[in-house]
């Protein structure tokens, strides 16, 4: 597609339920990132995928969070046993491989509310 696509755009879930958030990066972008943004706050790095390399998971806040990227394209961020503090916007971004243009482009985010 023309841009980074994320779904769902909004999700309300009950505490304790699992949620899956999907990201479809820009075609040809091998680098993919997940960030989290709480209301009125900055961007918190979660995880980074680059091609076939092992992902950088250093930003995942707990073992309830996991992400995968199938076929080097679409990525899914899974949050298990959601808690109220997980409420935030989850932003996905993608970029061309290292050594080419470095700018990363963001999707519109998935707004998660845990009640």
């Amino acid at each position: 597609g023309a841009g980074v696509s994320q779904s769902p755009s909004n999700k309300v879930t009950e505490k304790g339920k699992d949620v899956e958030l999907r990201c479809d990066p820009i075609s040809g972008h091998t680098a993919l990132y997940w960030y989290r943004q709480s209301l009125g706050q900055g961007l918190e790095f979660l995880i980074y995928f680059q091609g076939n390399s092992a992902p950088d998971k250093s930003g995942l806040p707990s073992d309830r969070f996991s992400a995968e990227r199938t076929g080097g394209s679409v990525s899914t961020l899974t949050i298990q046993r959601t808690q109220q503090e997980d409420s935030a916007v989850y932003l996905c971004a993608s970029s061309l491989p290292q050594g080419t243009q470095n700018t990363i482009y963001f999707g519109e985010g998935s707004w998660l509310t845990v009640v």
Partner: protein, 113 residues
């Protein structure tokens, strides 16, 4: 540790005036810097970038200045318009290794009509 931070959390500017948004970074190994604009309810949008071998870069109504000596970055917006109201983030990256980008906390720009 590494960090990218902003001096002012909120900036109010009269329409038509110039805006200057500042950013400090602490990692001297950073060699690529980006400014993003985030409007309410939307994802961050790329505005302008600058590499460490430059100290100034101009775009349409925007200019980014880089001072590596004091590790300072600024975004200047000329003739600020109501549509410029948003949160602005600076970000830094090292192009060696992989492309992890570190973001600052953001500055909210309010344009007064």
């Amino acid at each position: 540790g590494e960090s990218v931070g902003l001096h002012l959390p909120t900036l109010s500017v009269q329409e038509g005036d110039n805006s200057i948004i500042n950013c400090a970074y602490s990692n001297s190994a950073s060699d690529y810097f980006i400014w993003y604009k985030q409007e309410s309810g939307k994802g961050p949008q790329f505005i302008i970038d600058i590499r460490s071998n430059m100290d100034k870069r101009q775009g349409q109504r925007v200019t980014v200045l880089l001072n590596k000596t004091v590790k300072h970055l600024s975004l200047q917006i000329a003739a600020t318009q109501p549509g410029d109201s948003a949160v602005y983030f600076c970000a830094e990256k090292r192009t060696g290794g992989y492309q992890k980008v570190t973001f600052g906390t953001g500055t909210k720009l309010q344009v007064i009509p």
